[in-house]
Amino acid sequence: MADIDVELVDVVKRFGAVTAVDGVSLQVKRGEFFALLGPSGCGKTTILRMIAGLETPTAGAVLLRGAHIEGIPPHRRDVNTVFQSYALFPHMSVFDNVAFGLRMKKTAEGEVRRRVEEALDLIQMSGYEGRRPRELSGGQQQRVALARALVNRPAVLLLDEPLGALDLKLRRQMQRELKDIQRRVGITFLFVTHDQEEAMSISDRIAVVQGGRVEQVGPPSEVYERPATRFVADFIGLSNRFEGRVVGRGDGRIVVEAGGVRVSAVSGTVRECACILVRPERVRVGTEAPAGVDHVFSGAVRDATYVGAGTFYAVDVGGMDVLCFTAGNGAVRHAEGERVFVGWSAQDGHVIEEQ
């Protein structure tokens, strides 16, 4: 297990009567961009703070590169944090902020200068050495906070909603930059966010956290395409869910009856009830019945929402909304009230294995 940088084993954290983290086990590999994704209050920041040493776990083990670090104070852990509020020292220049960690380690001043300049160059902030944090924009402060942590070359960099305070456009740009910087420095990034799009677009793997527990860990495509629980399916992206009794089985498939329709999906597990998930972009929609699919239903368009990259349709099928997405073409093709056909194949469905 030499290539595991962070490992949590059954970690529990209670604040008085409140259990913030409830038995979390995780492994973050070396050089990985790992996201902890979940709604606010789910315990993801507490997990991060326990790795940083800013909180002490009530129970369980925290390991950094194989060594137990539960009792080690934050200033002697080989991890650094980018705080949500940046927490730049207001009375120090950009240079002194970035140099802080190196100076605490009594690095020679020549080496400090070289590495600070290198770090400022990495985040494209050369020339700002003498500025005070309050003289910088939010995006610039964010970069300095990143440089201040990265310059120490920690084993793991912890990022607590680092882009949360930025506006959407800057946020997207910083996401790309963060990913690029991570590739270049090769340091393990452990990233906390509540923004599923952000987690999907920059991480190698995502842990979806809910109620102090990890619901699922996997690469973005797996978490999206094959969510392990209803919560994960709901939290990440939009979906159609068909939940009900299993009325047929065979050929490696199951048939579920839900809301008056019968839907099939690929599943080897034998069960009484099941939940089948179909993502909107898997559903084909047209004025004629689509060919070569397992399921075709007809209904009236109840709502059409144009989102630029395509259009979302909510089609009323026997009192139940089926959500579909068609990409491109620049315009809404089906008006509200229009009768259309929707269809998909059994392979497009995913059976949520949660009981």
Binding site: P73, N80, T81, S85, A87, F89, H91, G101, M104
Partner: protein, 281 residues
């Protein structure tokens, strides 16, 4: 949006205090300035003849010595209050809001009793037959009562007791505003508790330290009740000297010159302080 100047608004908000300060502060101050350049009347009072004699007399070693002692005692007291007050203010600021308020009330509770009464209480504690001596001999730490009252130590104790709240309150205000994530960031970046205090907490709370020091230093310098009651005749401070000139020696012009000299010194120190601060930022 352009802000309209409304003379009535200014008159209503700042007017009353301005009138009050003019009548009861600026006017008497002007009188003091004039007196300080006058001669003493034959039977006390003031004789309006211009002279610099009063200021020249200030350079007499007897008065300079009292002046130095006052500055030293005030500086010592300020340092003592800072050393006692900072940890206390930090402790209060790190409590839950409810507990914080109770502790703050405890800090200002002494103000509910008259200052003079509290100084008499200290006399009762410190004198040879007093509570402290009884305790010390009772515990066998000393075998006979020690003279505690009417010493410089007694003045220091009294001043520190009297002015500690003036240090704690501004310190609390600035420590309470301290962004805790800055402390966490320093720890995260490898600073131990001492370095975190030195590099981050102290600089961030510096305005509170300065405010507290000014609030303690200035009144300590002019103190006269505490050195009178706890220091006796042996350790007079400038305040006692000024009071004597006005009330006993009836040399009002000299007393006025002495008061102004102290004021100028304090104002000069504050100005230097401001200058140093401005250079830093």
């Amino acid at each position: 949006m352009e802000r309209k100047r409304d003379p009535w608004k200014a008159a209503v908000t700042a007017g009353p205090a301005a009138v009050w300060l003019t009548v009861f502060f600026l006017a008497p101050l002007g009188v003091i300035v004039i007196y300080s350049f006058c001669e003493r009347g034959t039977y006390g009072g003031v004789s309006f003849r211009m002279t610099f004699e009063n200021y020249a007399r200030l350079l007499d070693p007897v008065y300079l010595q009292v002046g130095f002692r006052s500055f030293r005692l005030a500086a010592e007291n300020t340092l003592l209050c800072l050393l006692l007050g900072y940890p206390l203010a930090y402790f209060i600021a790190s409590q839950r809001p409810g507990v914080r308020h109770v502790l703050l009330v405890l800090v200002i509770i002494p103000f509910w009793t008259d200052f003079l009464m509290r100084m008499y209480a200290w006399m009762f504690i410190l004198r040879a037959e007093g509570v402290l001596n009884a305790l010390l001999t009772g515990l066998g730490i000393t075998d006979h009562p020690t003279e505690l009252l009417f010493t410089e130590g007694a003045v220091t104790v009294g001043l520190a007791y009297g002015y500690l709240p003036y240090m704690v309150l501004p310190l609390y205000a600035s420590i309470e505003k301290l962004d805790r994530s800055l402390v966490e960031a320093a720890r995260d970046l490898g600073a131990n508790a001492f370095r975190t205090f030195q590099e981050v907490i102290l600089p961030a709370t510096w305005p509170g330290v300065l405010a507290g020091c000014v609030l303690v230093f200035v009144p300590s310098l002019g103190a006269f009740v505490t050195p009178d009651l706890l220091g006796g005749a042996r350790t007079p401070m400038i305040g006692n000297l000024i009071k004597t000139q006005f009330l006993t020696a009836r040399d009002w012009p000299f007393g006025a010159a002495m008061s102004l000299a102290v004021m100028v010194c304090v104002a000069g120190m504050l100005a230097l302080n401001r200058l140093a601060e401005r250079r830093e930022t």
